[in-house]
Symmetry: D4
Subunit: 250 residues, 8 copies
């Protein structure tokens, strides 16, 4: 990884401007920005194409602020997921350029990446699935895709889906967000020529078991062309959709 850097160090070692010991040590310390409680993956973009994302749940407010601050200092655009309104307020007090999407519970700082070419369609089965769907949409947009969010096209009134099919078919990749039985993903996959990222949500009660029913339904769908992310993981769905979309742009 980061082959040029390693080659550079090897070159210096060969030229004698760098001792063998120091060469080894420098390779070790190439990627480290250590806050003590967190180590920022500063060269992640070089390795995976996109910078690190901040998972805010379970982090204390001062930890999240410190991580965001260090990333901004280095000019890294920040996407914060699963961020509650209190944290959002604290972040916006410190970083006025921060934007907060309350429905998606996401913070964004810095300009979206990429040029917005290629369409990602995010279809949501019901109104209650919108938070997860919107998390996917915000993520894909942040990383450079054009996104269209298509709400309330669940299979219990399947004509609603059919009336939006022409829009859905324009996309290079589709995110299908649904709770309860999660059938939306399989029905769409049987109607389109592009990959479907299935996003199970925790919408439902009783035998939904917190999204398990949608998750299992999507995993076992008889329609090929589906792959699945974690329950309520709109971020993961949007990220994967953007990666796929980018392939179509290159």
């Amino acid at each position: 990884m980061a082959d040029e850097d390693i080659r550079g160090i090897l070159q210096s070692v060969r030229e004698g401007t760098l001792s063998v010991e120091e060469g080894g040590s420098r390779i070790s310390s190439l990627y480290k920005d250590d806050l003590g409680f967190a180590v920022i993956d500063t060269r992640r973009e070089e390795r995976t194409g996109y910078p690190e994302v901040v998972f805010c749940a379970g982090k204390r407010q001062e930890q999240a602020l410190a991580i965001i601050g260090r990333m901004r200092e280095r000019g890294i655009p920040v996407l914060g997921t699963k961020a509650g309104p209190e944290l959002a307020e604290a972040v916006r007090a410190r970083f006025p350029e921060a934007a907060y999407d309350e429905l998606a519970r996401m913070l964004t700082l810095g300009a979206p990446m990429g040029d917005g070419t290629g369409l990602v369609a995010v279809a949501a089965a019901g109104t209650s699935d919108l938070p997860a769907a919107r998390e996917a949409a915000v993520t894909a947009e942040f990383f450079g895709s054009r996104v269209e969010l298509i709400a309330d096209v669940g299979v219990s009134g399947i004509h609603r889906l059919f009336s939006r099919l022409p829009d859905i078919r324009k996309a290079r990749v589709i995110v299908a967000a649904a709770g309860m039985e999660g059938a939306l993903a399989g029905v769409i996959a049987g109607l389109v020529k592009v990959p479907v990222i299935a996003l199970p949500t925790s919408v439902g009660y009783g035998a939904s078991f917190g999204g398990l029913s949608a998750l299992l339904g999507m995993l076992t769908s008889c329609a090929p062309g589906i792959s699945v992310v974690n329950i309520d993981n709109g971020f993961g769905a949007g990220y994967q959709a953007n990666l796929i979309n980018r392939l179509g742009s290159s």
Copy 2:
């Protein structure tokens, strides 16, 4: 679906009063009332016999109000399920004709449908099962059935059930609501000639696992004549019971 409409459009196309392109587009848009975050299934009644129902859990207050408002404008009777008291208050402030059943957590706007012929019996195993049982009763009544709710006839004191059997046997279909081991459904099904809709509830603790014990018990009952709905899904039980009851009336 909605075959006459499609035929009408085809007719206009044939007669030349409608272009081929417009004909295709009009078929697509036949059923759409799109609020952005929700698409009301305006012709659901034509397709399935009954209008759409509003699942209130997970919807924001302004979303629920907008959906209810649009349905009332179109003259569609509204049944709102899993509605908390705060939402109920907001709805009643805006729509004074709204009624709220606190135990069932249901909102109703508009006159019940149908003529109340045919009896649906809703039997509840214990007092704590009443919310689910009442959700079933309110639903079946709203859609046109006559309903009798029979409380506290669980199998641990089985004579209570026997003393109410003559009432239960008058029904065309029976909803049996029970938590814990959910045995009520199987015992009733062994004593009557009509279908039993088993409604597992989340009443219980420990190995009830939120209603799982009742659900599994009802699914595996050795008595035939039972089919099961989701845990605490009184609405689904009442809806199915009314559909069955209506068959007996036609």
Copy 3:
């Protein structure tokens, strides 16, 4: 239960032709045909409309034969479920009138009941779901319904379902058999005016967990008008469908 018999005994007691002690004992023994290892529910038809059914799995061959023999002696039509081919052979050797459906693993002895009025549609998502679907079809026919089995209409190629909708819509009640994600039941329920009995099957692998994915999907379907039976319980689905169909005939 069996109120006339009880009244008859009470009458005899009043008239003095029966002692009080004997009256009590006779009430106790009204329904008993005890083979030692099994007690045949000889008056089940009177109580629930249909005779007892023989669940063959887990019974030894001699037990099954004895039970079937006793029922035939009493002129009760026999439906045997989950019967393997070895048992079928033994039964047919003893009772030449027995018919065996190998796919459904069902034995039938005696003429079907009822007059075949009213249509039950049994829709199967895939070819591998046919054993369960056929168990439902054979059951409903045995108990007096007319049945149409519609194969391979799963949602991954949803046009196959739409092309069969006119047939499906003729039924008074629909059984929807599906494994994997089990989405068929919800899609159908959003398109018809009659009750849907969802029949999850164990078809699938991996996260299907022996039918659990289909079961949970059907229980949590967002379409109302569905109730669910146990995994692979074609018998239960067909029995319930026939009960419902009969309501429409009365």
Copy 4:
């Protein structure tokens, strides 16, 4: 435990006929009959009232034979559970006095213990529950209870249970064996004055999940007076029933 022995050793130590070291060592070795792969609990009867039982599943034939042989040498009556027919044959070849109950898969060697006072009733819901029920019956008899096994009294035809209630009520303790939804235990417990030991069986399929549905149903029964043993653990149910019965005899 075994206080007299310990006191005896202490006495010898005091009297000087036993050294302190040897006294300690002798206490350690009081209860040991070590076959290398198994240590027979030779004084279990003294501690718990009954000798050790041999759980045959998972043991190799030579291991089982060696254990049984050693117990017979010491005159300990042997009860072997979960014993397949091959093992039974090998045991009977070596120990002609051995009896084998094929249905219960149990081996017995040596005379039953106790005097057969006090009745244990073992009620089985269906014919397929008989193996577990019979395991309970054989166990309780072996340890000294009088047992009546009452077959096929499941709740789907609840009158069968009522007609046998007088027999069931004669017992000091009742074992209720049932698979599927396991409702039998709760119904009986609501009708009797004595403890019910619920014995869930693995009879069923689909959502029975190998007996889980019956187990959960019995654990969560709303009727008090029930305690539950492991799925298919007829031995445990019969053992506990005999312990309870013995209390009534003392």
Copy 5:
């Protein structure tokens, strides 16, 4: 059930002082005290030896008060389980004789039943298991047993258990309450001659899964002489223990 009453009615019918119709009706209504939302099982004591118990969780305050009130009017002693402090306050305001055990969350009104003969030992593994253990103790005492509660004898310091063994061995039946791995029940059962009622508690975290680990451990214990009640069901354990103890007193 309630055979004398039925005989009495039959007698009146024979003598002609009661019409046949009225006789049938009177049998039906023998056991009914119907509050609308609850049907009090007024003759439960006659059938099962003890009066009905009020499960307070999930009941509204006014429902609980009404049920308690009606039972007190009829002179039935009341035991209320899973009762929160608010309900307790309301009950004590209305019924000053009510006693409330805050740890066990139990209400009692009326004198304990029976004479306190026979000892029930309730052993608790840890201090955190005391609420469940105390629920068992209060229950057994209320129904007439003498009870000794032995705290903090979990198996991680097994000598604590051994030092209390002499006390435990005096009991006719033992309740073993434990969370986490629930090993206490099996260890005790290997050391005593009387039945052990295993009471799994929800004490623990992580892989305890709300008491599942203790429940499974107790069900699968290799020591015979154990039967198990639901997680945190101290009431059920105490009730069963008292039933067993009573056998030893008769």
Copy 6:
């Protein structure tokens, strides 16, 4: 769907060469090739880009043969999944051009589709994961991708993975097949710029629970850029990978 056909029919209707009734009927029957037990989705390729695939598990040999025969008659290339060796033999006897991959349990008839541009890398954690990995590889190749299968690069010896990273990084999309803890997918996703399709396998024992551990691990991976298919669903992984790869080629 199939818009040109529909437009053509509408055009004929307008021109009067087709009656309105016949137009409606023809739209309905556009896609139907019904074998009775199966309905071949003959125009699936037009709708989703690729023809239907035959899931062989649970189908009888004569059913599979009939389906394959009909598809070959229509010139549709056939991919059969989860096909046992007996079926393979029967298929090859009838269709000599059939190829069978025993490890992947797959049948192929007809030339691969597409031009083999774009690389799909299939990485397998261990030798035992090869059947699932190979199913993915065969599928992606059949549908037109170039594939490189990279075996035995599990994370317990992570240098093996690093030494193959240059090959893996050449791919447009990566399938990561792993059982047990399934960590391979997350580690790869943290090192590459393209989408990773995680393929959990049922390799393992004990707490692997048939692939559940790998499935959950892959779903909850903290590395973005992963989406997951069903356990052992190599077909689904390969199909999705090919869909994504094709995007990069267009």
Copy 7:
């Protein structure tokens, strides 16, 4: 256990300075400090090398205070786990020498044990895993190990782990704390020569199921040299790590 004490008593008995009865009684009471609701294991250190630890969750404040008080009186160092801030405040009010680690939710009173030789490395996958990791670190330090906590080295940016490997490799034993897929433990175990204690945390959502995904992943890791503790059981991990470290010091 405590063999010298037992020998001492035996000696006194032999010498006649102690009666046989009193000797037996004294052996029984050797280890008992009974507070009624709790029995302090006062000689645990002698038996297992370390004093008892106070599990604070589920204990009432006065119970925890009493236990801590009694232990301090006897000069036993106290470690309190899962202690909330309210309890911490109450403890510090009574025992000013108490220290509270808010992140780890741990109380410590009294000097750490041992000499701090031997290094335990505690590696945490993410910032949100720090509470569990810190619980492990505080525990190991309290019982005498030197500890280095290494934060944020999860496998999604695996170079962060590699850059810290030299530090990690200095340890005698490593605790690896991770939520989500829990892959950290397996990756580390493939790179070091010492035992790894895997500490799954409840960090994550959806299919993490409260830490189940990490737990299963760690249990099924294909890398040998791992053993696992309960979810969020930092105490258990730190305790085990210290035990192992001590072996290296002796």
Copy 8:
């Protein structure tokens, strides 16, 4: 890792005897012995202290033979786990020095490593737990520990354990193998000063759920000093025990 090799290459690069490109390539290929379907981790011993182990389940015979052959060529001692008797026979035909332990299902080729200092005690709860226990014992011995296997010391007859305690206490680390409720590990950990590796086995039936009950019980044990391996993973337990034992020897 393998720092000297890397330094050597850097040195050669500096000295100019190796080009920069070749240096990079050589680092990549340092550890590779690729059989196509498997990549042998040839320098694992250098990294983790011990050579790779062959997990035989799920591998084809020719694959296993090829892997073993290549390892033997390189002089690496071979330990093969989960090896069936057929494979064993094939291996011994090819490699006559191979030894096979049928109970443990393990193959060994080459001399045990290390010097056998330090004792590992492997305690098995019952005779049926011996296969897993023996797998642990063979593993620890192969890697250089002295091992004592102590059979049949389950907690249902706890004196058997106490009589073997002096032997158990001589060990530096203890493996406790138990199925069913798995209580053995917790009881031992409360009695010793060294680490306990808990090895849950799949022995049991019903609610054992294939070893889940033992696994959960061991994870949630209230005794500290325990860590747990996968169900039936005797290899993992023995490997970890040997690692720990080695620490005590260094």
